[in-house]
Symmetry: C2
Subunit: 264 residues, 2 copies
């Protein structure tokens, strides 16, 4: 009797696995991993294999989206099989497709969660988790022209007092925070609703949960000139701040007081 487990590896490296994930993975007959839905800068597949005491086959996007029946699902009909994923496993739509395909084939499924950037990003900045609206992804101009919807979603969130977490398109780690801010500036040039200008407070995040994690709140114009090291990157576009959030951005993200005062 087979089984399919989706196990989240959390952020940064193999230490983002939970004990539940570790124990379940060690009990599996076969292990697969996908490393394309997010970047885990500290992850070593060799170390992960030693930790889990088993060989791990890395699946590409195509393996999972088009070839899942032939690879992981055919194996999961007869054996206990896990797919290890970055973050919390269901954050990527492609994994929902796999889970539903397994269900339709009558394969029992188990989900084992872990840390997601969605809550960790709020945590490292001190911004109130319950004041975040819809999360958006800013597409790289090399893979996708910036859809106006990204701008509209940030506007919708801000209109009702909510912060926006904007993940950056992966684009092989080439789409940087300054480039993402420029994408938003270009949308502002077209839409002109005052969502982002040089003086707008933006929080830049790099490598959350890594020892060299960067969390920096500043004017968008200042962040444009900065280098945040290696990916993964994301930014937060805060809405109106509670005084404790403003204090947190000063103490945890080095926000200059003047930037916060601009937002009142």
């Amino acid at each position: 009797m087979g089984e399919l487990l989706l196990i989240g590896m959390g952020l940064h490296d193999e230490n983002g696995l939970t004990l539940r994930g570790l124990n379940a993975a060690r009990d599996c007959d076969a292990l697969y991993a996908e490393l394309h839905t997010s970047i885990m800068p500290g992850l070593s597949v060799a170390r992960l294999e030693r930790l889990l005491r088993k060989e791990i086959k890395i699946l590409t996007r195509k393996d999972l989206e088009e070839g899942a029946e032939r690879t992981i699902l055919s194996k999961a009909k007869e054996a206990r099989v896990a797919l290890l994923t970055p973050g919390d496993p269901m954050s990527a739509t492609t994994h929902l497709g796999l889970l539903l395909s397994a269900k339709k084939l009558g394969i029992p499924t188990v989900l084992i969660h872990s840390t997601s950037i969605i809550t960790a990003a709020a945590g490292v900045t001190g911004l109130e988790l319950y004041k975040f609206g819809r999360t958006v992804t800013i597409p790289s101009p090399r893979t996708n022209p910036a859809p106006e919807s990204v701008y509209e979603f940030i506007k919708d969130n801000r209109r009702i007092g909510l912060h926006t977490l904007a993940l950056l398109d992966i684009d092989d780690g080439q789409f940087t925070i300054p480039e993402a801010i420029r994408v938003l500036f270009r949308l502002e040039d077209t839409k002109r609703d005052g969502i982002i200008t040089d003086d707008t407070l933006v929080v830049a995040l790099a490598r959350v949960e890594a020892p060299d994690c960067i969390v920096r709140a500043d004017k968008a114009g200042n962040l444009l000139k900065s280098n945040f090291g290696e990916p993964p990157w994301s930014i937060i576009l805060p809405s109106k701040l509670h005084f404790m959030e403003a204090e947190a951005l000063q103490l945890l993200a080095g926000a200059p007081r003047a930037v916060l005062e601009v937002r009142g």
Copy 2:
């Protein structure tokens, strides 16, 4: 030289700790835990102490909110001290207060994340994480009259096509899913914006990440008559569904097809 670590224990039991959290906690000189910001039904403090090889002092809400300077912070000035918390540590505002107090005292701080119900709830239902708006908490009538803001937040989310995760007030594990739905019904009686009726699709969640986790999508009227076992509980009020989300609710949450068709 002291240090304060906030370490998330994730969901359900001590196996929700990440390997990073486990290793960091074992390296601490003193361990504290708070167990009041969420319910972890499978957690045994004795097992956790064996796992972390150290005694753990449980702090009450009052210890943390009024007495932190005298307890955990005075210790963290000189020693490596961790506070273990349910979920992802910064989901509770009280922990931000502690972190900022530590910063102001010059104590170095470290955050170690884990699973949060915010992303896990989306995961177990198959609802698209990027289609969730602001998360709300439904207060128990025994601790707090239901503020109209809860209703307004759900309405705001739905107006822009977003699902709402509604956590249930803890209230010593006495505030059940049927009671929470009745709170929303009473708000509907007053506000009359058609946000929730007997026929509205609601997803009930109990004990996410536990072996006996319940995920059930049905009409609000049907959920009113159900018993979901022990806490923690939450509900999701979905907005318009993508066809894959509708399929997920059938396969993962047993949604009757008729309920989904009602929502078009």
